[in-house]
């Protein structure tokens, strides 16, 4: 291993470690017996017990997951189609189109949230989980587009052309060649849109109906009760544990 490689390895893993620091703190404090976020007073499992008994937290977590999943699917679909169209067919005015598609990413969220609600009121649209999804897709589809387009660029058309020379039609080529080649970028776009939607607070807060909490809104309401970390930290710990397990099992499976 060369010096550069070693340096890269050290850089990579130390940054990853640093990003885990807050998580470690959170996990540690999920076992704290007092309410304080600053002072660790003693070990307890109480937070986990109260978490298990708390139906609302699970409900809001599931709400977050399913709305984010729908948002990711719809955004990817719209984003892939648009990016493919622009790169493959180079329509006239695509630069203008690009700037227009960028605007949803640029506009401050609070502005978009409030005006979207005003629009929904004017056209008589009732707030529901669907309005949350709509609000998120309006941001996430352009986001997916941006990431996917970066990947499409300088795109090696040889494979597609080869497939078509061999008699595959365009649609088959798109599904059999283009999409699999795009997979890493699709994955990256899926992760980004998921993070954004799963974590979004402002837009969700404005577009949600009463009685439908996502996890960030629920956490906000917990801050309201002055009982933030009791079981939310425990929940975070469990989420981290599950995703860690998932990653680990996946790694093992792929190895074999």
């Amino acid at each position: 291993m060369s010096m550069v490689d070693r340096a890269l390895k050290i850089i990579f893993w130390s940054i990853v470690t640093l990003t885990y620091l807050p998580i470690v703190v959170m996990i540690l404090f999920s076992f704290n017996s007092s309410r304080s976020k600053l002072v660790f007073t003693g070990f307890t499992l109480e937070n986990y017990i109260s978490l298990i008994n708390n139906a609302n937290v699970w409900e809001s977590f599931i709400n977050s997951i399913w709305t984010a999943a729908v948002v990711v699917l719809v955004s990817l679909l719209l984003g892939i189609l648009m990016a493919y169209a622009v790169v493959r067919y180079k329509p006239r005015g695509s630069t203008l189109l690009d700037s227009l598609i960028m605007v949803p990413i640029i506009i401050p969220e609070i502005v978009e949230a409030v005006t979207l609600v005003i629009f929904l009121i004017i056209v008589g649209f009732k707030l529901s989980p669907l309005t949350i999804i709509i609000g998120h897709v309006a941001f996430d589809a352009p986001l997916a587009y941006l990431v996917l387009k970066a990947r499409f660029q300088g795109w090696n058309r040889e494979y597609e052309e080869a497939a078509m020379t061999l008699g595959a039609d365009e649609i088959t080529t798109f599904f059999k060649i283009t999409i699999p080649l795009m997979m890493p970028a699709i994955l990256a776009a899926a992760f980004l849109t998921f993070i954004w939607s799963y974590d979004d607070f402002i837009k969700t807060f404005f577009t949600r109906p009463t009685g439908f909490d996502t996890l960030p809104v629920y956490i906000w309401n917990r801050v309201a009760r002055g009982r933030l970390e009791l079981d939310i930290n425990a929940l975070s710990t469990i989420i981290v544990a599950i995703s860690f397990l998932f990653t680990y099992v996946r790694m093992k499976l792929v190895k074999e």
Partner: protein, 300 residues
């Protein structure tokens, strides 16, 4: 039969193809993004008003909300501070993310790559606000980091970091890193390794190969990542409030304050005007950015 002919039609017609590919996205955005955007524009020009919950057109156009925005001396300072935070954050995330993406793309096998993406993604399962709180705890004078440094003798007494620009920037870099990393990784990963090997075979030194081949080829990822970091960082207002001691007054906070702190239509109008100026500023700065750095992302 009919299905066949329809598909045949699609095969033949370029514009039909374009319509089917672009249509759904554009129609969606036209309804659910641009309509609200037009409402915002109309609010900023004083063209909308309401009576309890009934909205109507005022049939007038005024620039008074824009004038008000520009005549406030606080505005310019907020804009400058926001640009400062956003630029430092973008450069910081780039400097950290590029080596990471490079390492992942070139030094990891296929299985490890996906695992690495999962590992990097894992902290993001935790709510943003909770992560910022955790960060605040870490930077705290009585927190584990500073106390740890003191106990091993690297620090003689705690330094107040919270409430300073440094705290804001560290937390912003931490929060936005993944938005830089993933697009760069997506692009660097697809670079054909044969080019690089060819360069080595031809005797090019590694540094030169990197500067002449790898870096230019990763440009679209860098540009996409920079936009994904710079733009939200410019409008960020939660981090300056939570770790900036309420001191760091950014354009994002200014717009938020207008929208929320001033009741009703007046606040929405003033906030919209500020937002329109802000959008204009971003469009101008991305234009300049494209001009100097390149615009692979918009030009095909």
């Amino acid at each position: 039969m009919e299905g066949d002919t329809f598909i045949d039609k699609i095969r033949r017609s370029r514009s039909l193809k374009l319509f089917l590919l672009l249509g759904p996205g554009l129609i969606f955005l036209a309804i659910f993004f641009f309509a609200p955007f037009v409402i915002s524009l109309m609010l900023s020009l004083g063209m909308l008003d309401k009576e309890v919950y009934t909205w109507y057109l005022t049939f007038e156009v005024t620039l008074r909300y824009y004038i008000r925005f520009f005549t406030n001396p606080g505005t310019v300072r907020a804009i400058i501070l926001s640009f400062y935070y956003a630029s430092v954050t973008t450069i910081g995330t780039l400097l950290l993310a590029y080596p990471m993406a490079y390492y992942m793309a070139f030094k990891m096998d296929k299985r490890m790559k996906t695992t690495a993406v999962f590992i990097i993604f894992l902290p993001f399962w935790i709510n943003f606000i909770l992560r910022v709180y955790a960060m605040r705890f870490i930077l705290h004078e009585a927190g584990p980091l500073q106390q740890g440094l003191i106990s091993i003798g690297l620090l003689s007494e705690p330094i107040p970091i919270l409430g300073t620009d440094i705290a804001v920037i560290i937390t912003m870099i931490y929060s936005y890193l993944i938005f830089m990393l993933l697009p760069i990784f997506g692009v660097v990963e697809k670079i054909n390794k044969e080019y690089i090997e060819a360069a080595y075979t031809l005797g090019a030194p590694p540094l030169k190969t990197f500067l002449k081949i790898t870096l230019p080829l990763s440009k679209p990822g860098i540009i996409a990542g920079s936009l994904l970091v710079f733009i939200p960082a410019l409008g960020e207002f939660v981090i300056p409030i939570l770790v900036g001691g309420g001191r760091a007054y950014t354009i994002g906070r200014l717009i938020y304050d207008n929208f929320i702190r001033i009741s009703g239509i007046l606040g929405w109008a003033m906030g919209s005007a500020a937002a329109m100026v802000y959008i204009g500023l971003i469009l101008i700065s991305t234009y300049i950015y494209f001009k100097f750095v390149g615009r692979e992302i918009t030009l095909i």
